[in-house]
């Protein structure tokens, strides 16, 4: 149990997807204009990560890794399908995103139209694929750990995107030098936020 709490806190603050690895930047920069839409996108990312990481965990441990197919019969003991991980992970992610898209369209049409193209683009959001690949690399011991890591990473992204959205709403009427308006200042804010998030780096759990 303590282990799960550690993984959860670690994936939100210390290994934050956005500020520690700078993953998922495209939707982070593009959809963070208002808090309302970024809450929607953030929740979608939490949901997708929370589902894809455990599903990919099962795939990795029972199909793809070396010797994972041993449960079929002894003949498959040496089979190593891990060269397929990218394409399998992407397939899982894409189908999950389809699911989210249908749910959002049905139950929150306003959010659906304000997210626009960025909802299907979650499928190629590197934070999501990154989540699965980190799971593979870090070799979590159980599906519970993998799920905790997935949800935690999603919440880390969620906090980052609503944080910057609030800042962008606040500076909307600021007299920013013309060349920096829009994305330029957003990059600077992201850098400064990364500086603030360095406070958690080095905490050992």
């Amino acid at each position: 149990m303590e282990n799960l709490v550690n993984i959860f806190v670690k994936s939100i603050f210390i290994d934050n997807m956005v500020f520690a690895y700078f993953l998922g930047m495209c939707s982070y920069l593009a959809v963070s204009k208002t808090v309302k839409t970024s809450v929607g996108l953030g929740l979608a990312v939490v949901f997708v990560l929370g589902i894809t990481v455990p599903v990919d965990y099962l795939l990795h441990n029972y199909v793809l890794r070396e010797g994972a197919l041993a449960w079929l019969s002894d003949d498959f003991k040496t089979v190593d399908l891990s060269f397929l991980s990218f394409i399998m992970f992407i397939a899982v992610i894409a189908s999950m995103v389809q699911l989210v898209e249908m749910v959002v369209e049905k139950f929150a049409p306003a959010l659906y139209s304000s997210l626009g193209i960025f909802l299907p683009l979650i499928a190629v959001n590197c934070a999501i694929l990154g989540g699965s690949l980190f799971m593979q690399e870090r070799d979590y011991n159980s599906i519970a750990e993998a799920t905790t890591f997935g949800i935690g990473s999603g919440i880390g992204f969620f906090i980052a995107i609503i944080g910057i959205a609030a800042i962008r709403e606040k500076i909307r009427y600021s007299d920013i030098p013309a060349p920096l308006r829009g994305l330029g200042i957003t990059f600077i804010i992201t850098g400064l936020m990364g500086l603030a998030f360095m406070s958690f780096m080095g905490i050992k759990l």
């Binding site: 609503i162 600021s174 920013i176 600077i188 400064l192 936020m193 603030a196 406070s199």
Partner: protein, 382 residues
């Protein structure tokens, strides 16, 4: 006074549009408003007039920092002669510290105001008063042994990236002085931490560890007494050591209404709560976790940060409920970083920066909650 006014009137035309020296107009404006209240008024709409303008607000903050500054100068001298094993009278110590600290202040003001003036020229607005406070804060939060060029680089970074990129004073999202401090801390860690940097020209055999470093290493027995840490004759950044001098500043800020007591009080509460949580959970061998909460208030930069940095009206939360949340989380996270993060003995700077980042979010949700509550009230009546 009349003589000065006459001089200003005489040279004014050459600074106006079309004049010979119009490129230096904002500099002229800045110097003129330093001497006289400008007679220009706002052109349209309804405005409230009162005695508070930003120049006056900034000056009050600078005045509130004077006790900490004077004490810092004296303490610099005391620590230096203490490390040499000499004891000197109060004026010798003060004079030594004065000569050490004055160059840092000059560099910080020179670089910062220089950049402000250049950018004001380029963008065609006037020089804002915001840097008065920042320029004084930067020297107070660096160790006394810091090389001057580092102060210059950090000040330039804070003013250009932290403030001017956002459109000038009043629009920044993070406290510029802390941005400078964080820049120094991450770019030149060997000059900003460790035991050697806190005392000017320290004798080699003398341990110059700050109380926080001692506590983080688990040597709580080596800590100075509570009284010593409260008075401030301990190694540390220039302005942060003396809790009592900072309390005088806090009194000035609260009495004049410039600094928010809500933020200061909730920061202290947040730190105490976190410290008591640690006390309750602490394993027997972790001396830092067992340290009582009030130690955190007087060690390191906590008091200085809570009084002068967290209350910065630009980067703090604006709503009154938001201020409590903001302050509480600063104290909470500061103690958390101090105790749990072995990489940084001082958590105050990063805790304030982190909450600066989330202050707009706190405000957003406080405002939304207000809107929701009022809408509910309206629909019940209808």
């Amino acid at each position: 006074m009349k003589l000065i006014r006459k001089q200003f009137d005489k040279i004014k035309p050459s600074f106006e549009k079309g004049g010979k020296l119009q490129a230096f107009r904002s500099m002229f404006d800045a110097i003129e408003t330093l001497f006289f209240v400008p007679n220009t008024t706002t052109k349209s709409g309804v405005h409230i007039r009162d005695s508070k303008d930003s120049k006056r607000l900034m000056m009050i903050v600078v005045i509130a920092m004077i006790p900490a500054l004077l004490f810092g100068m004296w303490n610099t001298g005391v620590q230096h002669f203490l490390s040499l094993g000499e004891s000197v009278d109060i004026m010798t110590a003060f004079w030594y510290g004065f000569l050490k600290i004055l160059p840092i202040i000059v560099v910080s003001y020179g670089v910062g105001l220089g950049i402000e003036i250049i950018i004001a020229q380029m963008r065609g607005h006037e020089v804002k008063e915001g840097f008065f406070v920042t320029g004084m804060l930067i020297p107070l939060i660096v160790p006394v042994g810091v090389p001057l060029w580092m102060v210059a680089v950090a000040t330039a970074f804070a003013v250009i990236i932290g403030v001017e990129a956002f459109g000038g004073a009043g629009m920044n999202i993070m406290n510029p002085a802390l941005t400078a401090r964080a820049f120094l801390f991450f770019a030149y860690p060997s000059h900003m931490s460790g035991d050697a940097v806190w005392i000017a020209e320290k004798a080699d055999g003398f341990s110059g560890a700050t109380p926080l470093a001692e506590a983080a290493a688990g040597h709580t027995a080596n800590l100075p007494s509570v009284m010593e840490m409260f008075m401030g004759n301990i190694p540390g950044s220039i302005g942060e050591t003396s809790t009592i001098a900072i309390l005088i500043g806090a009194f000035i800020l609260i009495y004049t209404g410039v600094g928010s007591w809500k933020i200061m009080a909730s920061t202290v509460v947040g730190a105490l709560v976190m410290a008591y949580i640690f006390n309750a959970l602490a394993p027997a061998d972790n001396a830092f976790m067992q340290l009582p909460g009030y130690y955190h208030l007087i060690m390191g930069g906590f008091a200085f940060g809570a009084v002068f940095m967290a209350t910065d009206p630009v980067s703090a939360a604006q709503t009154s409920k938001g201020k409590y949340i903001y302050g509480f989380l600063i104290g909470f996270i500061a103690v958390l970083i101090r105790v749990l993060n072995p990489a940084y003995p001082e958590g105050m700077m990063l805790a304030i920066l982190l909450m600066n980042v989330f202050a707009p979010l706190i405000d957003h949700y406080v405002v939304q909650a207000n809107i929701k509550r009022r809408l509910k009230r309206a629909s019940v009546k209808a």
